[in-house]
């Protein structure tokens, strides 16, 4: 096996083990999405009766947000793990080995993608048990997972950039507050047509809006329309930009 791929593979295995070590760390990322989904779907269900609301139940409407949020909350852990490796000195051990630097970053992204897949699956099962319907079926769900996986890797890069630039766990942890404006300045709670004009304009500048709209279309509408392509473009664009900045930060951290 080419050494680059073997480095990537073995580092990925090491990182994937971090997902369930300790086991309890798996639970917190589910709490917020389940809590918000349960509260919102029960308390705001009457919104579905408002003229202009799509012809679906409110729980189906916000189900994609629950899946998205589970991944949003956990993908930031990549940066915290990286700070831990830097502070313990383990990161230095890695960089004085004859391994490809890109493999170190890609292995971290692989961990994030695997975690996103696992958490997405658990959320999916919970949503199905709650009675949520996915209009595009199995293929649609696979597409949703692909969008979420790409987004999770892009978002984890932001936390790694913070980690490499500051090497400070508290600062990386504080990045968590970015989740709220990015999540709520979108169409996560109501369709754009029902939002105040200014708010609607703001949501159109937020890439997260396109990701939520893409997975929502696959959940409640079907394959038609450009929303799914926009979601891939938004997630893919973020991925390319943030992986590049992560690599630059990586090289800067080594100087």
């Amino acid at each position: 096996m080419n050494t680059f791929f073997s480095d990537w593979y073995y580092l990925s295995i090491r990182n994937i083990k971090l997902i369930w070590r300790p086991l309890m760390a798996l639970l917190p990322p589910f709490f917020m999405p389940i809590f918000f989904f349960a509260v919102n779907s029960l308390s705001l269900s009457a919104l579905a009766q408002v003229p202009g609301f799509p012809d679906v139940s409110y729980k189906d409407f916000i189900a994609p947000v629950a899946m998205f949020t589970a991944i949003f909350f956990s993908a930031g852990n990549a940066g915290i793990e990286l700070v831990q490796d830097i502070q313990s000195g383990y990161f230095k051990k890695l960089i004085i080995m004859p391994i490809n630097r890109l493999a170190i970053v890609l292995a971290k992204l692989t961990e994030v993608a695997v975690q996103a897949l696992g958490q997405g699956l658990v959320m999916l099962i919970l949503l199905l048990l709650w009675g949520v319907h996915f209009k595009t079926g199995f293929l649609g769900i696979l597409t949703i997972f692909a969008i979420l996986g790409i987004f999770a890797m892009a978002w984890s890069c932001i936390s790694m950039i913070f980690a490499l630039r500051t090497q400070n766990a508290r600062l990386v942890q504080s990045m968590f507050i970015l989740v709220f404006p990015l999540l709520y300045l979108t169409t996560s709670q109501a369709p754009k047509s029902l939002l105040p004009h200014t708010f609607g304009v703001i949501t159109s500048y937020n890439p997260v809006t396109y990701i939520i709209e893409g997975i929502r279309t696959l959940t409640i509408n079907g394959w038609g329309g450009p929303d799914v392509s926009y979601a891939f473009l938004a997630a893919g664009g973020m991925f390319v930009v943030f992986v590049t900045i992560t690599m630059l930060s990586f090289h800067k951290a080594l100087k």
């Binding site: 090491r14 070590r21 831990q84 490796d85 383990y90 230095k92 004085i96």
Partner: protein, 268 residues
């Protein structure tokens, strides 16, 4: 076979000036011979750790040249990393991995065969007397066990040169003796060892040759016996005290670490 005639580390006019102007290392030159146990001493902030970090490119040198085993540092990093092991001041272990898992991973990352890895893991765990706890998480290890395991980990790929930065820092006398015995054995088998330490008895006990550094410069060099004779001293501690000044109050900060508060401090 140990030659002790050819230079395995060659350093010429090595300098390090950190952003902000701190001159940590000021044009030092020295050679280490193949198979030699070489001590690099100095008070806190003398520039020892900066120097050892520059020798493995963990800190970029400002100027000068470093040749390791005939290879120019900046042009042959991967090849050099295959030939050197480094047990750093901070014992950087993966806290949620077992000792065996870490050693196997490192063996894989050095692109060793599975048979080689298995043989090295058994040999090294036996050497540092950690066979019984090899399958426990490293977070459960005591300070001495962590140091010993870190030493074993740095040897997984059978390096020709071993860099050790304060390897017995914080250890009790028993653990120190155990590490010394391992190091003597490795050196006897032909490994070149480059050691930085604060402990003069350690340097005197282990090293063939010693350089003492102070304020970024080498102030004296020779075998322990030569140094004691040259400086009319009874032991290495006396040599150390006679050749170095106190650096208290002038120690370097870790200028390599990012300072997340720099801007707010600049604003006052």
């Amino acid at each position: 076979m140990v030659s002790k005639n050819t230079n395995i580390i060659e350093v010429k006019n090595l300098t390090k000036t950190y952003p902000g102007g701190t001159q940590a290392v000021r044009g030092i030159s020295f050679n280490v011979k193949d198979g030699e146990f070489y001590g690099f001493l100095g008070p806190n902030g003398a520039g020892k750790t900066t120097t050892i970090n520059m020798l493995v490119n963990l800190v970029k040198k400002t100027s000068g040249s470093v040749v390791i085993d005939g290879l120019k540092l900046e042009d042959n990093l991967d090849e050099i990393y295959k030939r050197v092991g480094f047990a750093m001041q901070e014992v950087g272990l993966d806290e949620v991995a077992t000792a065996r898992e870490m050693m196997q991973l490192h063996g894989r990352l050095y692109h060793m065969s599975k048979t080689d890895i298995d043989a090295q893991v058994s040999k090294l765990l036996k050497l540092v007397e950690l066979e019984k706890v090899a399958d426990k998480f490293t977070s459960t290890y005591s300070g001495g066990m962590r140091r010993r395991f870190d030493l074993a980990l740095s040897l997984i790929h059978k390096p020709k040169i071993l860099f050790l930065d304060e390897p017995t820092q914080g250890l009790d006398p028993h653990a120190r003796q155990l590490i010394w015995a391992h190091l003597r054995q490795l050196n006897k088998e032909g490994m070149t060892i480059f050691l930085t330490t604060h402990f003069m008895d350690e340097a005197q006990e282990l090293c063939d040759r010693i350089e003492i550094m102070d304020k970024g410069k080498i102030v004296t060099e020779g075998s322990p016996e030569e140094l004691m004779k040259k400086h009319n001293a009874k032991n290495m501690e006396e040599v150390f005290l006679k050749t170095t000044g106190s650096n208290l109050g002038n120690e370097e900060v870790n200028a390599n670490a990012p300072d997340p508060f720099a801007r707010s401090r600049q604003r006052g």
